[in-house]
């Protein structure tokens, strides 16, 4: 009996000591982590809208250039140019893809796409989501539908070259871009109700 009580007291004391330490570390780090995450989203929004924040405080550039507006659960970030940015997400080939997409005032032309998090295959799917590849989407239109076509065959305004060997990621990105563009247009214009 005495042995059991010592055992329970030992575990409780050890657990309590660690719990206190962890609460302390969490108190110390959580504001820094929150600030980093908020800044990261702001950077991605500015990048998608092609607004430079080089060498400046991100928070300041953001508040000077962007107004945000709530549509239900979705937040729309508007730039002075009339372009809008919003968070997008969808399934990739290995895991969820999260990012920010910016559309022109017509809600059809892509201004930019940036990625917040993804877990595609290094060297294959990751190349699709690399900034230099995403730059190819700039100026393309999502009307009637954006298409990712086999490498070096993109001609029309709604066609973008695929990355060879990364078909699944290309398909995933294509469907995210199209479905998110449609739903945002519905949300802002309020039609289709």
């Amino acid at each position: 009996m005495k042995e059991r009580i010592t055992m329970i007291i030992f575990i409780l004391v050890l657990g309590g000591a660690w719990a206190t330490t962890l609460v302390g570390v969490d108190r110390w780090t959580s504001p820094i982590i929150k600030k980093y995450e908020a800044d990261k989203l702001r950077k991605k929004i500015l990048e998608a809208l092609a607004i430079s924040y080089e060498g400046k405080e991100v928070e300041q550039v953001f508040s000077e250039n962007i107004t945000s507006e709530e549509f239900g659960e979705t937040t729309i970030y508007k730039a002075g140019s009339g372009s809008v940015a919003f968070e997008v997400d969808g399934p990739g080939s290995q895991g969820p893809i999260r990012g920010v997409m910016a559309l022109g005032p017509d809600l059809e032309m892509i201004v930019g796409i940036t990625i917040i998090s993804q877990s595609e295959t290094p060297g294959l799917g990751m190349r699709v989501l690399a900034p230099d590849n995403l730059a190819k989407f700039r100026g393309k239109t999502t009307a009637p539908r954006l298409l990712i076509v086999p490498s070096s065959t993109a001609v029309a305004d709604n066609e973008v070259d695929a990355v060879t060997g990364a078909t699944l990621t290309c398909k995933a990105l294509e469907s995210i871009v199209n479905s998110e563009a449609k739903s945002i247009a519905l949300l802002i214009r309020g039609d289709g109700e």
């Binding site: 660690w18 962890l22 780090t29 980093y36």
Partner: protein, 209 residues
Amino acid sequence: MSLKSILGKKAAKIVKSGLWFDHPISCATLGVCSALAISNKVENAIAMSLGVTFVLVLTAVIISSLRKLIPSRVRIITYMITIASGVTIVDLILKAFFPAISEAMGPYVPLIITNCIIMGRAEAFFLQNNPYHSVVDAVSNGLAYAYTLVLIAVIREILGFGTLLGWRVMPEAWVDWVVMAAPAGAFFILGVFLWITRTLADVKPPGKG
């Protein structure tokens, strides 16, 4: 000055066995999961090794100091609480101060908890030895894990990305070996590593010793 005169006879022996004769990855085949997953870039390998070594040392200090108090029936729970708390601290600190590394390592930071090197050393060594020898053992095993990871990562990063610590080292015409960037590449390199080190250290397969 020899290792023996600086650390003492027993500690010198511990260092040699941790770094080479009882190498955690090549001899005990522990910690292989993270060695395969995190060795695609040198930067990540260094961060992972530092994380594992920190948790190892922390566990060594706590388990070996408490070794006479820990009731033997709850010793595994004691290791788990200690290791899990250490890993959570590492995870929070990486997220707050080194967010880029934290993102690159993804779920593998919390998975340090399941790294068998730490559990294995706690059960096999820290519980029977004093804090000084335990810390020496923890550092040796951490270093052994680190040099293996970095070695594999150097080969994988050069062949798979054409870079070393992010700097381009291969000519522009170099075609990246995608297999090296993917987990499969780690299996090849680790296999070759085990083959070479086991031959050099003369490790006998079980049952034939």
